[in-house]
């Protein structure tokens, strides 16, 4: 059997570690690195080069703050952040377990990436529209969308606001400034730019924020987004969540030889930051900075959130097939929840006991909510959704041919 290596001159990149390997990240010592300082938000985009290839951080792994990026938030704001992240994680775990029991068709967790969605949502205004992927449910938690609504959609039950039209995880919550998630990767990045152009055109002070995985940056839509954002100086934040994996594909397939995903923005004259995505404070500060830039006519910022997808891609995926089992644990950037907790404890505003109590409270809330949702039906029970709704919202009005088809179905 041929060994897995290039025997032609065609180079095909591979991740450093595969199953069976013992991943070694000892070369990375985060606390020793020098990280870029915080420039004025209206700085010339080209002066963010160090930020695009370095790493914006505000706290060390042990929760100690350092450098210029500490957003200096009030403790109750930080505790709110902690709460939102915990809630996100607990909901994720519950829904994952329920999928395993056949109550929903599919689920996607954001474990390890909660700081990105939660801190972003907290740094933005509620009137700023976010264009998320399927791993920013933390925004919904932060903006106070009822967990019951989320669960109802995942279970496709009769209380699902979307009448069972969308798969679980593809939420749409306009009144929480949460754009309809597309199953098609990348498409929403340029739509966010269009939305931001509309904000500018209407002269509001709102901005848009879009998210893409690092894998999906390879789609043409990402290129359109960078280009249109640059050309029309759209007030938009283009977030790239680099969690190292795109299903089974390592980030190097999309990155190629580039130094960072953030640096893609520089070629378009966009301010670009690479941020420690497991650092709640840094994410908050970076988004705040970019929002300030956008609201003041400075145009778009690309933010790469450097993080790690701790679990499988979705309920259909087992990552041990393509990466070392222990990698998530030894990933040198820690866990965003633990780090913020440590920071709060260091501040003297929090304790492990409070943390445990909060977790218990949230777990109880989530369990109770889940029970309520399940009582409204699950995918495993016969659907209560009226079949006639299937023909609605294709167009504003149901046209003749769809009425004929509805009749053909006998309803």
């Amino acid at each position: 059997m041929t060994s897995r290596k290039n025997i032609s001159n065609l180079f095909v990149p591979e991740p450093e570690f595969r199953p069976g390997d013992l991943p070694d990240y000892s070369s990375i010592n985060l606390d020793k690195e020098q990280w870029p300082g915080k420039p004025d938000p209206l700085v010339d985009a080209f002066e963010t080069e160090a930020h695009a290839t370095g790493l914006v951080r505000a706290m060390k792994l042990n929760g100690e703050v350092y450098g210029e990026w500490n957003p200096e938030l009030e403790p109750d704001v930080l505790i709110m952040g902690l709460r939102n992240m915990l809630l996100t994680r607990i909901v994720d775990k519950r829904m994952f377990a329920m999928q395993r029991q056949g109550k929903l068709s599919f689920y996607m967790k954001s474990i390890g990436e909660e700081a990105i969605s939660v801190a972003t949502a907290m740094a933005l205004r509620d009137s700023d529209m976010v264009f998320p992927t399927y791993r920013q449910q933390g925004i919904l938690m932060t903006r106070g969308w009822p967990v019951l609504d989320l669960m109802n959609q995942c279970l496709s039950n009769k209380a699902d606001r979307l009448d069972g039209k969308a798969i679980p995880i593809c939420y749409s919550v306009r009144d929480k400034g949460f754009y309809s998630i597309s199953g098609n990767l990348g498409t929403q990045t340029i739509q966010a730019v269009g939305w931001a152009m509309a904000c500018a055109y209407k002269g509001t002070n709102d901005i848009a924020a879009t998210f893409t995985g690092e894998g999906a940056t390879a789609e043409g839509d990402f290129h359109y987004a960078l280009n249109f954002a640059s050309t029309y100086r759209a007030p938009v934040i283009i977030n790239v969540v680099n969690n190292q994996w795109a299903i089974s594909t390592f980030q190097g397939m999309a990155a190629g030889q580039s130094r960072s995903f953030a640096s893609r923005g520089l070629g378009f004259g966009l301010a670009s930051l690479r941020v420690d995505g497991n650092d709640f404070l840094a994410v908050y500060a970076a988004v705040q900075w970019a929002a300030q830039r956008a609201r003041n006519g400075g145009g778009a910022t690309v933010i790469e959130h450097f993080t790690y997808r701790k679990e499988g891609h979705s309920t259909s995926d087992d990552p041990s097939a393509y990466r070392p089992k222990g990698e998530a644990k030894i990933w040198p950037f820690g866990d965003p929840i633990d780090r913020l907790k440590e920071h709060l404890i260091k501040l003297g505003k929090w304790s492990q006991e409070q943390q445990d109590a909060l977790i218990d409270e949230l777990k109880a809330h989530v369990l109770e909510t889940y029970k309520k949702a399940e009582s409204l039906g699950t995918l495993a029970t016969p659907t209560d959704i009226n079949p006639a709704t299937m023909f609605e919202q294709v167009f504003e009005d149901v046209p003749t041919h769809l009425r004929r088809q509805r009749q053909e179905l006998g309803i």
């Binding site: 529209m129 264009f131 606001r161 979307l162 009448d163 039209k165 969308a166 593809c170 749409s172 919550v173 306009r174 754009y179 309809s180 597309s182 098609n184 498409t187 990045t189 340029i190 739509q191 966010a192 730019v193 269009g194 939305w195 931001a196 152009m197 509309a198 904000c199 055109y201 209407k202 848009a208 043409g220 839509d221 290129h223 359109y224 987004a225 280009n227 249109f228 050309t231 609605e392 919202q393 294709v394 167009f395 504003e396 046209p399 003749t400 041919h401």
Partner: protein, 342 residues
């Protein structure tokens, strides 16, 4: 030139007038696309709109059809009414995903929370020696997509009324402009003298606001012996062929392919018992197939002859053999003669 608030316009002017009327009425209408701003579009459909309505309401874009539509979807979701131009329909494919997966499906997947009320204008069809990348008629690639409306006018009067309707519609509308008709009707025979709209009654267009409903075919010519279903350029080829053959045919200009005026079609075919379908597009899986499917279902017992389609061939559009490819006067006339045989 004005006559009871009407003006003689060619199709370019009628289309421009539609956008002008809507831009004047509604600040949320924005017009953009490649070369549509300062220059006014390669076919001049947007000429003067930037000067009149401002740089930020009619502007150029990067050459990225997917970007144009993607941005328009976002704007539409916000609440604006973008009217975008794709320079040639042949170049719409980089935007296919944004049109079909996004614009057409946004309403459904969000159960009505977000919508994409955009209008996509794009020139279609051959007969201008444009070869395979300036002549395509891709309508059937869009009528298969749930959530999208597909409109194609055949004359200035309809073009303006339908385009205003499209801009006001709350769903995405693909508005196909038969470029061969921009300046005048076309018989399908390139050797016949060119006509223009300047004296044609369908070139007499109200200057102000009016709309034409979708899902309403136009009876271009009433008749009793044969129903000809067509749209765009082929309406005029049908007219010429009917004249040439002397058959008392009814010509239906469908105008709106999705939604389709099936009622008018069925009524006509049930009356005539014969049906001929004309389109420029490639035959296999062209829109003619869909028409046949519906007609045979609804008029089965009235049909005296198989439904015939005269179409472009299943090849790319050849440059030098344009008139061998184009379903012109001769091929259409022959088909009429044949379908009228017992």
């Amino acid at each position: 030139m004005t006559k009871d608030g009407k003006k003689q316009m060619n199709m370019i002017e009628a289309i421009r007038s539609a956008m002008d009327v809507k831009m004047s009425q509604d600040p949320d209408v924005l017009v953009f696309g490649e070369d549509v701003g300062y220059f006014g579009g390669v076919f001049r459909c947007t000429a003067g709109l930037q000067e009149k309505h401002g740089l930020h309401r009619c502007f150029d874009t990067p050459i990225a059809e997917g970007g144009i539509i993607g941005a328009a979807v976002g704007m539409g979701a916000y609440g604006l009414r973008p009217v975008v131009e794709i320079q040639f329909a042949d170049y719409i494919y980089p935007a296919y995903d944004q049109i079909c997966s996004e614009a057409a499906r946004l309403r459904y997947r969000s159960n009505g929370e977000f919508t994409a009320p955009l209008t996509i204008r794009t020139p279609v069809g051959g007969g201008i020696h444009g070869g395979q990348t300036h002549s395509q008629s891709p309508e059937a690639l869009f009528t298969h997509i749930a959530g999208l409306k597909t409109i194609i006018p055949s004359n200035p009067y309809d073009a303006k009324g339908l385009l205003i309707k499209a801009i006001e519609d709350n769903d995405p509308v693909l508005f196909l402009e038969p470029k061969r008709l921009y300046n005048g009707p076309f018989s399908g025979d390139p050797h016949m003298p060119a006509r223009n709209w300047s004296k044609h009654e369908l070139g007499l267009v109200p200057e102000g606001h009016y709309t034409i409903d979708f899902e309403k075919a136009r009876t271009h010519r009433a008749g009793t012996d044969l129903t000809i279903l067509c749209y765009g350029t082929m309406v005029w080829v049908a007219e010429a062929a009917v004249e040439a053959t002397g058959v008392n045919a009814e010509i239906l200009d469908l105008r709106s392919l999705m939604p389709l005026d099936l009622e008018a079609i069925v009524q006509s075919v049930n009356k005539t018992g014969r049906c001929l379908i004309l389109h420029e597009a490639t035959r296999t899986s062209g829109f003619g197939a869909e028409l046949i499917a519906e007609v045979q279902q609804h008029c089965f017992y009235a049909l005296e002859k198989p439904i015939v389609r005269v179409t472009g061939w299943d090849t790319p559009y050849p440059h030098a053999l344009e008139w061998e490819y184009f379903p012109g006067l001769e091929r259409c006339s022959d088909a009429i003669v044949r379908i009228m045989e017992d």
